[in-house]
């Protein structure tokens, strides 16, 4: 097991009483200081973080697929190179997050197994299909935009390695969102057919993007504890509202219509009112019954299995080298 050797994840050994440890942990959180890997932490805090960070990592990895499908069909070398770079970033984000999960004692191979065997989830948004190249733009604009709303506050999350991974990720998400919006602006300056493609993609991705923030606050039982632990800084509904307020003027500039008849500015609140996403649909997709769940899982599983020989060959090569060159 590699994790027992992890420099940051050694099991804490302390003569102190559980009460003292808990007090010290609570005081650290109250002072808005970060919890670091070797600190004592409550089991619930550790478990919540491992689950959240692993799901986040899985989402980045599965998130490579919907857009990855368009790399070979990108309309120009410029768009292809950009899309390559973006999908590579998603892989990178997944790896930063797996690295953060490992500081909590999780094991990388075990996390991969949990994803492949369906024991851990990933974001429901990636279970929708990418039907046209406009979807690549809309994913950058909506999905990465929603991710930014979610992730910017996580840069101040109470767990140090998670917060630091989020800082790195947020710097890169900005490129993702902007390339998407620029792609859509280009299509909107094109033909009627291209403008229709953009509007169609907007119509299909709007509601699933709102669902990315999770169930409404009154149906999100774990949120309160996560906020008390300062893992999470804002409620699902607050983040969803921010996303809507941020996106409406961008849609106006672009010249598309967001598919919500209830969407309108509320001068009294200083925010937009908007309709309710179909929460039953969200639950169905989370439970495995979305348009692409099986396809995404099958692709991830086959990539893992078909890559096994590469991992084995590298291991054998490293062992051979180690035999030939005894440690310097």
């Amino acid at each position: 097991m590699t994790t027992t050797h992890h420099a940051e994840a050694s099991p804490p050994e302390s003569p102190e009483s559980p009460e003292t440890l808990q007090e010290h942990f609570d005081a650290t959180i109250a002072r808005d200081q970060r919890i670091e890997p070797r600190d004592w932490m409550p089991d619930g805090y550790r478990k919540t973080l491992v689950r959240q960070i692993a799901q986040h990592a899985h989402s980045e990895i599965i998130g490579m697929q919907p857009e990855g499908e368009w790399i070979s069909r990108a309309p120009s070398l410029r768009r292809k190179a950009i899309l390559f770079a973006k999908v590579q970033d998603e892989a990178g984000h997944g790896l930063y997050l797996y690295s953060a999960a490992e500081t909590l004692g999780a094991d990388r191979a075990d996390l991969t197994d949990r994803l492949i065997e369906g024991r851990q989830k990933y974001s429901s948004i990636f279970n929708y299909p990418t039907l046209s190249f406009a979807d690549v733009g809309v994913i950058g604009w909506f999905v990465d935009g929603a991710a930014i709303c979610n992730q910017v506050p996580l840069c101040r999350s109470s767990y140090g390695p998670y917060a630091r991974a989020m800082v790195r990720i947020c710097k890169e998400e900005s490129f993702h969102q902007r390339q998407g919006y620029e792609l859509l602006m280009t299509m909107m300056r094109g033909t009627d057919a291209q403008r229709e493609m953009v509007q169609d993609a907007v119509d299909r991705w709007w509601w699933p993007s709102l669902m990315m923030f999770g169930p409404p606050d009154d149906a999100s039982p774990n949120s309160a504890q996560s906020m008390a632990w300062k893992i999470k800084r804002h409620s699902n509904d607050e983040l969803r509202q921010r996303f809507v307020d941020m996106t409406v003027p961008q849609a106006d500039k672009l010249g598309v219509t967001l598919p919500d008849p209830e969407l309108k500015w509320n001068a009294e609140r200083g925010r937009h009112d908007f309709g309710t996403p179909d929460w039953d649909e969200l639950m169905r997709v989370i439970k495995g019954d979305g348009p692409c769940n099986d396809q995404r899982m099958e692709r991830r599983r086959s990539a893992h299995e078909e890559g096994a020989w590469v991992r084995e060959a590298a291991t054998a090569h490293a062992a051979k080298r180690a035999r030939k060159e005894p440690a310097a």
Binding site: H6, A7, G92, E102, A109, I116, A308, R321, A322
Partner: protein, 95 residues
Amino acid sequence: MSNESWPLYEVFVRGKRGLNHVHVGSLHAADDAMALTHARDLYTRRNEGVSIWVVRSEHIAASTRDEKDPFFAPSADKVYRHPTFYDIPDDVPHI
């Protein structure tokens, strides 16, 4: 299903000349050479570094837990190590 794990490496990057290497995260690799190329691909995709160190995580020795540990107590009780411990009249220049 589970595969044999490659060892875990910690990655340190020098952002630019004149700065120390700073810990940026970890990764798995079969050997040192692969750890370096993976670290380049993972942690320096946007000119974040001019030099990378990788070291097997198991080779790092670390102090225990956090800052209230008595391990660090000796650094707190020697105030005479700080320049402000010494009273020097204001009219003495450049000191």
